[in-house]
Amino acid sequence: MIRVQKEDFDLTAEYHKLIKKGESGAIVTFVGLVRDFNKGRVNESMLLQHYPGMTEKVLKKIEQEARQRWRLLETTIIHRVGELLSGDQIVLVGVSSKHRSDAFSAAQFIMDILKSEAPFWKKEGEHWVEAKSSDDKAAARWL
């Protein structure tokens, strides 16, 4: 399940949606949060821009690829856009599977590829965030 939205999400509700009763033996969830990016200027907001249409397509492709690589029961990717403040939730990746190793690996894979391929851009205050080479390296290890 893919969602790109302005609204916040409820981790507990999403967790329950990942459970296939009797089948799920492992659930891994990852939540990314907005950190303080500018010391001294409290509550400066972050803007998250995306490419409507393409962003959803890329996320679906990442989800499908994860499902091909590991034995998964349910997958959830939620990414927020618009204006966010320090401490706000940005992204949720949730995976359920029979066994833990599939869920751990798939969740990490989805986040790593999302960070290097999904068209989202962060602007902190007046400054567009530069891409990090460490994020490309994290994605490259799955190739």
Binding site: H79, A118, K122
Partner: protein
């Protein structure tokens, strides 16, 4: 805005902000027209356009698929997007 020979061009993040435009429709000639032709056309608008579009890290998507080269041919109705490396998550 759009006519039968036009393409849609989108600029995201710092590109859209620096160019002062997020989206436009352009009429393309009735001769083979590629991503490289489009970049050349846009680069003629000034140094800022030229410098940003020729930068090696700028990505180009045609119909929402990222392109590796610039030799893909563009057709009327196509959607082309230029953007810097992504920074989500």
């Amino acid at each position: 805005m759009s006519d039968i020979n036009s393409i849609k061009v989108l600029y995201f993040a710092s590109l859209g902000e620096e160019f002062g435009i997020a989206e436009e429709h352009l009429t393309i000639p009735r001769v083979p027209f590629h991503v490289s032709s489009l970049k050349k056309l846009l680069s003629a608008r000034g140094e800022q356009w030229k410098n940003r579009l020729q930068a090696s890290n700028i990505l180009c998507a045609v119909n929402q698929e990222v392109q590796q080269g610039e030799d893909i041919q563009l057709n009327p109705g196509d959607e082309i997007a230029f953007f810097p490396p992504v920074t989500g998550g």
